[in-house]
Each structure stands twice: as C-alpha cells, then as structure tokens.
C-alpha cells in the first residue's frame, strides 16, 4: 500500500523542528554546513558588489575622495618612510640573524615579510553585527587566510582575512565593535624621519578598539612619555599575534593625549584614529598583502613585491 504523502502543515512542522534543531545544535555538529556559504556568496556577489559600490558612493567616508592630491603626497611620503624603516629593520634583522644562526638554523630572516600585493579589490557586502566585510577576491585569486588588507592610498590596515571562499573572502575589520576586548600591541612612531637612533625612542603600547571607530590604549602611558607624543604621530602594529605581513603596518594616528578616568597626574591614555576614515567598512578599494611561500607562483592579477 502506498504511503500517504505528508500534509503541508506536517511538512511545515517538520521543517520548523529541523531548523530549531540546527539553530540550537552545538557548533561541532553543524560546522560542516559552513561549506554552503561559499557558493551562496559566489551567487550573491554579482548583485551585492554593485549595491555595495552604490552604498559607498552615497555615504562615502570623510577620508575617501577629498583632497586626492594631498592624500597622494601623504601616501608617497609614508611609503618612503615605511621603506626607510623597513630597510633599517632588515639591516637590524640581518645583524641579529648572524648572531642567532649558530643556535637556530634554517630560519630565513625575510621569510615572514614577503608578500604579493593584490589590487583592485572591492567590498561586496558588509555584516555590521559580525564586524566583517566581504570582498570580491577569494581562493581563485590566491587569497589565503591571514592575508592583510590595506587601504590603497594611505596603506592603512583594514583587517585580516579570516575566511576564504572560492571567489569571495571575509575580512575582520580592526575597528569592529566586537574587537573591543582584543588587545593589539603597537608602537608610536617618532615624528621625525626614522633613523636608528629614533628607533630606540619608539613608544610601545597596547591598544584596543574603542567601539566608535577609534582606538585607545589599554594600559596607561607614563605622563612624561606622553608629553613627548603629539597628535599626528603614526601608530603601527608590532604584535606577534598578527600575521607577519601586518607587522609595522599603519593602524592610525594619535589624535589626542587624554587624561585617565581618575585624572591621575602621572598616567595618560592615547586616542588613535585610523588614517583613512573612522569607518573602515566603507572603503571602496583596497590592497591585499598575500603572504608568499618560497617557490609559490604569484596569484592571478598580482604583482610580486
């Protein structure tokens, strides 16, 4: 005898019960469902990409398209400064490497710093609750987990790729609200051109997202040290917990030196804002620094650096 078909009401009930079970099941049972996200994003990206571009055009961030020439000058200046610092740091690494070679063999001193820049990347979606953005570059373009995303003009760090799909990737934005509890070890760069002597006067600090698009130091800075810091000084990441390609990337500039909540005379906080904009999720294009393994081929559309 043929089995009776389920009524529509029964089908709906079964579907609801299944969804409740999926919604409440622990992650270890449902993690495998994540593979469905990749094809879904691939299908949606062609429409969400233009919609995202329109959104950014309508509500462009304050640092987006104005004073382009000034920004270009600033970016060039920063590029020179960064290369200068890079060369100095490499020189120092080489010196140190000669000392540790006897103890630690096989470690290439530049291995962690090689990257391939991938340009013309655009946002296709934004998840404000998760503090992530989706970009139109994925595994097909050579993107890897841990790839660092920077703004095109100012080389300001946007975030790190946390999930890689075939054609799209997810970036955790550094200023996201849920990152308020995560500490980033950073250095406040001297205002003067970097040289070996000024490198010794770099101020180390731990910062965290303040939730309003800026950063604030987690631990206080001694007032005498803070007295030597002026608004406009660069703050760069120097944190072993971050990918090697993110080291010494610009995270923002000091906007003010603040008093502590208890107005302690010997302690100060630093308020740091991203160089591009307070809302990094509205960036219209970016550059990805894809870590390079020795002997690996350059990804499609990328140039070796």
């Amino acid at each position: 005898m043929a089995q009776a078909a389920m009524s529509p009401r029964m089908r709906t009930t079964v579907a609801v019960l299944l969804l409740i079970a999926l919604a409440l099941a622990p992650t270890r049972f449902t993690r495998w469902l994540g593979f469905l996200r990749d094809p879904t994003m691939t299908i949606i990206a062609p429409i969400s990409g233009p919609a995202s571009a329109l959104s950014i055009a309508l509500r462009r961030g304050s640092g987006g398209g104005t004073h382009e020439e000034l920004e270009l000058e600033e970016a060039r200046s920063e590029l020179h400064q960064y290369r200068d610092l890079y060369n100095k740091a490499i020189d120092r690494v080489n010196e140190l490497e000669s000392l540790v070679t006897e103890l630690q063999r096989g470690i290439h001193p530049l291995g962690g710093y090689r990257f391939t820049p991938l340009e013309a990347t655009a946002r296709v979606a934004r998840d404000s609750a998760a503090g992530t953005i989706e970009i139109n570059r994925g595994r097909h373009h050579g993107v890897k987990s841990g790839t660092v995303a920077l703004t095109r003009r100012t080389q300001q760090i946007i975030g790190v790729v946390s999930r890689v799909g075939l054609m799209t990737s997810t970036i955790d934005v550094v200023t996201q609200k849920r990152a308020e509890t995560r500490l980033i070890r950073a250095v406040v760069m001297p205002r003067d051109p970097v040289d070996p002597s000024s490198l010794r006067s770099i101020v180390n600090c731990q910062i965290k997202a303040a939730g309003d698009g800026s950063f604030i130091t987690e631990l206080t800075i001694p007032a005498d040290v803070a007295a030597g810091i002026t608004p406009g000084q660069e703050v760069r990441i120097k944190d072993d917990q971050w990918p090697a390609t993110a080291q010494m990337s610009l995270i923002g500039r000091v906007v003010r030196v603040e008093e502590t909540a208890d107005k302690h005379p010997l302690h100060r906080h630093l308020r740091i804002k991203p160089d591009f904009d307070s809302d990094l999720t509205r960036v219209s294009s970016m550059i990805l620094h894809i870590p390079v393994d020795d002997g690996a081929a350059a990804p499609e559309g990328a140039t070796q650096e």
């Binding site: 879904t40 969400s48 919609a51 979606a125 998760a130």
Partner: protein, 187 residues
C-alpha cells in the same frame, strides 16, 4: 506565484541587504533596513500560506548562510536556522495581519514589513542568546539587539513604502492577482 521571477527578485533583495542597506542605516549602529523582509511582507500580502512559508524558508536560509556569527575566539561560524525561523514567523505574522490592510496601498507593505522585521529580530535574538549559553558567541546583549531591531524595523517601514510601491509593479510577473475585487479577496 512564479518562482523563477521570485528567485530573481529575492536575489536582488538579498544583494541590496548585504551591500546597500548600510547606506540607509542610522548612525554607526547595526540597525539597517531589511529588503528581504519587505519582499516577504509583499509576498505575504498577495499569495497563499504555503507559498509564504516556502519563500520565507528559502530567503531565511540564504540570510543564515551569508550572515555569519562571530565567536569570542575570533572565528566565525555559520548558524542555519535563526533567520529562517525569523523570516518564517515574521512573514506568517504579516500573512495573518493582511486582512487588516488595504493590500494595494504601499503603506501596507511598509507596515507589515516593519512588524515582520521586528518579529524576525526577536526570533534571531532568542535563538542566538539560547545558543550563547553553551557556545562562546560574541554577540551583543539581548536588550541592545532588540533595540537595534526596533530601530531597524522603523527604518524598514520608511524604506518599505517606496520599495513596496516598486514591488507592486511586479505583481503581474509574479503571478499575483491583478483586477476586480482582488484587493480584498484573500487567495
């Protein structure tokens, strides 16, 4: 209902929700309009319960796939269910309330979308809060989520009026009733 046409419109709405909705958000918060709920409210106005349920489940599952849930470990996970259940309950509420509406008015779409968005927000918040008891989910408190949902539903109301008017032009391609007393007769 013509499902191919619905799929194209839903694809467009989900794209708008992912990419464009933040242009209409208020301030720096997470409250932004839901184009998918406007579509589902429109569908709930004009078609049968079975179609409303199916459309809600499809759109909700896609939203579950695209909106990841952050963990305190820094990772993100895909949780299937909260948006699907939210869309289902939200659109079913709209389906139930449509007898109170003048269906041809764009205001009806906006109002029902507002109600559906808030109901959906309540369901999503409840699911994630319950899951948060035994998973390290990095989600805001229930009160702030519901407040954001309330603001989002108000924005959806504002956006739903013109968007609902645009969707009204697609009634024929979608296979919804066009003439006579159909504005008052329930399918």
């Amino acid at each position: 209902m013509r499902w191919l046409i619905f799929a194209i419109i839903a694809w467009f709405c989900i794209g708008l929700e992912l990419g464009f909705a933040d242009a209409l958000q208020i301030g720096n918060g997470t409250a932004q309009p839901s184009f998918v709920m406007i579509l589902l409210a429109f569908v709930a106005l004009w078609t049968t319960t079975g179609h409303v349920v199916a459309a809600s489940l499809i759109c909700g599952l896609v939203l579950d796939l695209v909106f990841v849930v952050p963990l305190r470990t820094g990772d993100t996970i895909v949780v299937l269910g909260p948006h699907a259940l939210g869309c289902l309950l939200g659109s079913y509420t709209a389906r139930t309330m449509r007898g109170l509406m003048f269906r041809r008015g764009a205001l009806a779409v906006g109002f029902l979308a507002m109600v559906a968005t808030f109901v959906s927000c309540v369901v999503v918040t409840a699911c994630l809060r319950i899951r948060g008891f035994y998973e390290p989910l990095d989600i805001p408190s229930a009160s702030s989520s519901l407040f954001a949902g309330l603001i989002a539903s108000l924005i959806t109301f504002g956006v739903g009026i013109p968007f609902g008017w645009l969707l009204g032009a697609l009634r024929k391609p979608l296979g919804f009733p066009q003439t006579g007393r159909s504005a008052f007769r329930m399918p």
